[in-house]
């Protein structure tokens, strides 16, 4: 799959043969990347629609369940990603200005931020795991009273331990779907068991697990995209040590930057929608 060698052709070594000139090539690659980003928006869009539908129909679930997310960690991750977008943009600029050392530094910092982001997410996921706050089928919340959690220390345990009763949902916001008295239970009533509610029973609305299904799908998919971005950045970093991308042709760094900014932007929306619910 190697492109034919450009050595000795008398033209820009980065110019692919089927293009007439570098400008055309650059225009094509750029347009391609923007279209790809559009497909990513639509891909995540489906999840945002699912979020909207469930939140519109059952706002009490979101109001209740989001309090198990740590706003501080979420905010930390947001800051980390915004910083990483900054360092990535700087990396593009460095490549453009042929500053090899700066390029390597900025790429490394961006990667570091990405690692940090994933690290914080790992901490959050671990907390959820420990407390059984998982997606639907695995949802078995075991969030206990303050005494038990005092050993955890840190913000995670504290936030979870102080499980206030769900704030009174104003009439206008309550779900409009009446609960069926002995309504259909859907699949195999034989298999359905009452969800173990532990100590959360008093405040927990029905089907609270829906929130966590959506949370894990959205942040999980986002995390996979972060990993993908990190892989590409690692490749850029390796290349930058070999002098690539600072010889005038910096398009790969530029395109990676575009992708990374979208990943950052999606996270900002996730933070707003999942963590910052009134």
């Amino acid at each position: 799959m190697a492109a034919p060698s450009h050595a000795g052709h008398g033209h820009d070594p980065h110019l692919a043969h089927h293009f007439e000139n570098p400008a055309q090539q650059s225009q094509a690659v750029r347009l391609g990347m923007w279209i790809f980003l559009a497909t990513e928006v639509l891909f995540f869009g489906g999840l945002f629609v699912a979020y909207s539908v469930y939140r519109a129909n059952n706002p009490e679930i979101f109001v209740f369940a989001h309090q198990f997310l740590d706003k501080n960690l979420g905010a930390l991750n947001t800051v980390i990603l915004i910083c990483s977008s900054f360092t990535m943009a700087w990396a593009v600029r460095a490549a453009q200005l042929r500053q090899a050392g700066l390029l390597r530094l900025m790429l490394a910092l961006t990667l570091l931020c990405a690692f940090g982001f994933l690290g914080v997410k790992a901490v959050e996921y671990h907390h959820k795991w420990e407390h059984g706050l998982l997606w639907a089928r695995q949802y078995q919340p075991q969030v206990h009273a303050v005494g038990h959690d005092s050993g955890h220390g840190g913000t995670e345990g504290g936030a979870a331990a102080a499980v206030e009763p769900a704030p009174a949902v104003p009439d206008g916001d309550a779900t409009t779907i009446p609960q069926a008295p002995e309504g259909p239970t859907g699949l195999a009533a034989a298999a359905a068991e009452p969800l173990p509610s532990g100590h959360v029973a008093a405040a927990e609305p029905r089907n609270a697990q829906v929130f966590f299904s959506i949370y894990f799908m959205m942040t999980g998919l986002h995390g996979i995209h972060v990993l993908g971005g990190m892989a590409v950045m690692a490749w850029l970093l390796v290349g930058s040590f070999r002098g690539a991308f600072t010889d005038g042709y910096f398009t790969p760094v530029d395109m990676t930057g575009l992708y990374w900014h979208l990943v950052d932007l999606i996270w900002i929306y996730l933070f707003l929608l999942l963590y910052l619910i009134h």
Partner: protein, 330 residues
């Protein structure tokens, strides 16, 4: 003006399809069937016109303008805005008319009259059960003629769809919510009821009959049917339950294995379960199988039987057990 005339002509639509049906449509037996059929034939007429126009022109052109030696195409323009506008505008008008009629008809089909007679419907893989206001449950849908009937439907498992072609009604039955449909039958008789949303192995066997009773006879039928536990012997009542409550969809009484094991000779027979244990099928075993079917699955079968907990009372279960006891091998 023309619109009002068209609307008035719709009131004569009952005769759109004659009683015995046509090439396209089964006999129309509900109050909405007339409209649906009228619109169908209207669209058919429009379609036939445009189809003949298109194909006709095509045939004329390939004959008239076929390539002849030495002669190319006659010079002609390659665009004509007036023509484009015309053949865009005419279809627009046509589809608007079709849309409006479809919309009006739909409004009727979606709005049950306030005094409708309510029957509850349960759909499960792979049978229907209809619960009448007396509490009686049957596997067929009995209704009085000339009276609006509203169906309140629910599904025990996956999406099904209740479809009665003769009435031209159809409604998906989605698990986790109630679905409603209504109709008013105009002709006594027996009609087919299908499941119209694919639901697995025996989707095409999930049939029922709609029995439209002549005036006055429906109430008599319902009263007699509802009392079956009192008027029949336990074995007869059990047989009726076996037939109408969906058992026979999956369990044969002739020895053949279907989705579930045969009931012929089941009582007293030693069963091998999927867990490996062996149990004798006594009254308790049979009762438990009805209420907790997943607890004792016979080896070689899948655990697909739905539970009847809350759907059969003790008297009904007793009758069933008596019936099953009577199914001795000869």
């Amino acid at each position: 003006m023309i619109y009002e005339q068209l609307l008035r002509s719709l009131s004569h639509v009952q005769e759109a399809t004659p009683k015995e049906g046509t090439l396209w449509m089964p006999p129309p037996v509900s109050t909405v069937a007339g409209h649906v059929d009228w619109l169908f034939y209207f669209i058919l007429g429009v379609s036939t016109f445009f189809f003949l126009l298109i194909v006709g022109l095509m045939v004329v052109f390939i004959v008239r303008y076929r390539r002849r030696e030495g002669r190319g195409a006659e010079p002609s323009t390659s665009h004509n805005t007036a023509l484009e506008v015309t053949w865009t505008a005419i279809p627009v008008v046509v589809v608007i008319v079709i849309f409006i009629f479809g919309f009006k008809g739909f409004l009727d089909m979606a709005t049950p009259p306030g005094n409708a007679y309510e029957i509850q419907v349960e759909a499960q893989k792979w049978s229907w059960s209809f619960t009448y206001p007396t509490g009686y449950v049957d596997s067929n849908l009995h209704v009085p003629v000339n009276r609006p009937v509203k169906l309140v439907m629910r599904s025990a498992d996956v999406i099904h769809s209740l479809y009665v072609p003769a009435f031209r009604i159809k409604r998906d039955v989605v698990p986790g919510r109630y679905a409603t449909a209504w109709f008013e039958a105009t002709q006594p008789g027996e009609y087919d009821l299908f499941c119209a949303e694919y639901c697995g192995t025996s989707h095409s066997d999930m049939l029922a009959h709609v029995v439209v009773h002549p005036p006055g006879e429906f109430e008599t039928w319902l009263a007699k049917a509802s009392d079956f536990l009192d008027t029949m012997t336990p074995v007869e009542a059990g047989r009726k339950l076996f037939q109408v409550r969906g058992c026979q969809q999956c369990h044969s009484v002739d020895g053949s294995a279907r989705i579930g094991p045969t009931m012929l000779g089941v009582f007293g027979h030693e069963q091998q379960l999927v867990t490996g244990e062996r149990v004798v099928a006594d009254e308790n075993y049979l009762r438990r199988s009805v209420l907790e079917p997943a607890a004792q699955v016979v080896a070689g079968y899948d655990p697909v039987m739905p539970t009847y907990q809350g759907r059969l009372n003790d008297r009904e279960i007793d009758a069933l057990v008596e019936y099953l006891k009577s199914l001795k091998e000869q």
